[in-house]
């Protein structure tokens, strides 16, 4: 029987290989952007909750970590769909 830590490790490895396959296909667009955001979120949560054992730990620390990961996912989505917002906000003239 595969133990808990091994299951998490195998899942992370599988998702990484899926990401690498995506990179090799050279796809672009919304499906890729949303998949990447989901991969970052899911893999990040697996490490935070299981590798770092935050699932049953201090709720404030866990919440702060999940906010960081959510912000990155948001950046990925906004960066693709509404990248012009970043451009407009950072024009020097």
């Amino acid at each position: 029987m595969i133990k808990h830590a091994e299951k998490i490790w195998l899942t992370l490895i599988g998702l990484t290989l899926a990401g690498a396959w995506l990179a090799e296909t050279g796809h672009a667009g919304w499906p890729l952007t949303l998949t990447v955001a989901a991969l970052i979120g899911f893999k990040g949560m697996l490490i935070v909750d299981h590798y770092m054992e935050m699932r049953l730990a201090n709720r404030r620390i866990r919440r702060a970590l999940l906010i960081f990961i959510s912000l990155v996912m948001l950046l990925v989505i906004i960066g693709y769909g509404w990248g012009d917002i970043f451009r407009q906000m950072t024009l020097l003239n």
Partner: protein
């Protein structure tokens, strides 16, 4: 005191509650949140640069070696797994197994700078240096910055490895060991973000 609803692998130390515990120590969390804020700012820089140079960021990943990025990810994830096993072992008071897992984590972690070295050599040989364009400037800045943090984390793992070999840690005293593992996992999560930014996203 037993905690039937808490898995054996997440057994708390004697002086703390089963739920709501702070893994490691308070100091390491200050460091971890500083790193998150630092990299979040760098990620914003990435997206601002991308917004101003969409073509460079669309074509940039094609010139990078996906195998290198993937290998680094696999090494870091497996090294992180070794540190999970090291913590499990010290909770069973098995110091020899703890040390073996820490050494395995360090060896796998050292694969990162080695792969990075060959990746950069390959890049430079193919004209992908710091002056090859904005995408590659951001790529070098972010990935080398991450490598610096990984180097610190490896030093931390070496430190707790030495202390483990000297018998400093036990099932009732492993906060420093756990803190080093948490720092290592943090560099892992950050890399999981960097990897798709430069090797996958178009």
């Amino acid at each position: 005191m037993s905690h039937p609803d808490v898995p054996e692998t997440i057994r708390p130390l004697a002086d703390e509650p089963a739920h709501g515990r702070i893994p490691g120590n308070g100091g390491i969390w200050v460091g971890i949140f500083c790193i998150w804020v630092e990299f979040l700012m760098l990620f914003v820089v990435y997206f601002v640069a991308k917004a101003h140079n969409p073509e460079a960021f669309n074509s940039g990943p094609a010139k990078l070696v996906t195998l290198a990025g993937t290998s680094i990810t696999l090494l870091l994830l497996t090294s992180g797994y070794c540190m999970v096993k090291a913590i499990e072992a010290i909770r069973r008071d098995n110091q020899k197994a703890t040390l073996r897992w820490i050494i395995a984590a360090i060896i796998l972690g050292l694969g990162y700078p080695i792969i990075k070295y060959f990746e950069i050599r390959w890049n430079v040989a193919h004209g992908v240096d710091g002056e090859a364009g904005i995408f590659y400037t951001v790529y070098y800045y972010l990935t080398l910055n991450h490598l610096v943090h990984v180097s610190w984390a490896l030093l931390g793992l070496s430190w707790v490895g030495i202390r483990t070999s000297m018998g400093f840690y036990s099932s009732t005293n492993y906060r420093t060991l756990e803190a080093a593992a948490l720092f290592w996992h943090t560099t892992d999560v950050i890399w999981l973000v960097i990897f798709p930014f430069f090797y996958i996203l178009r």
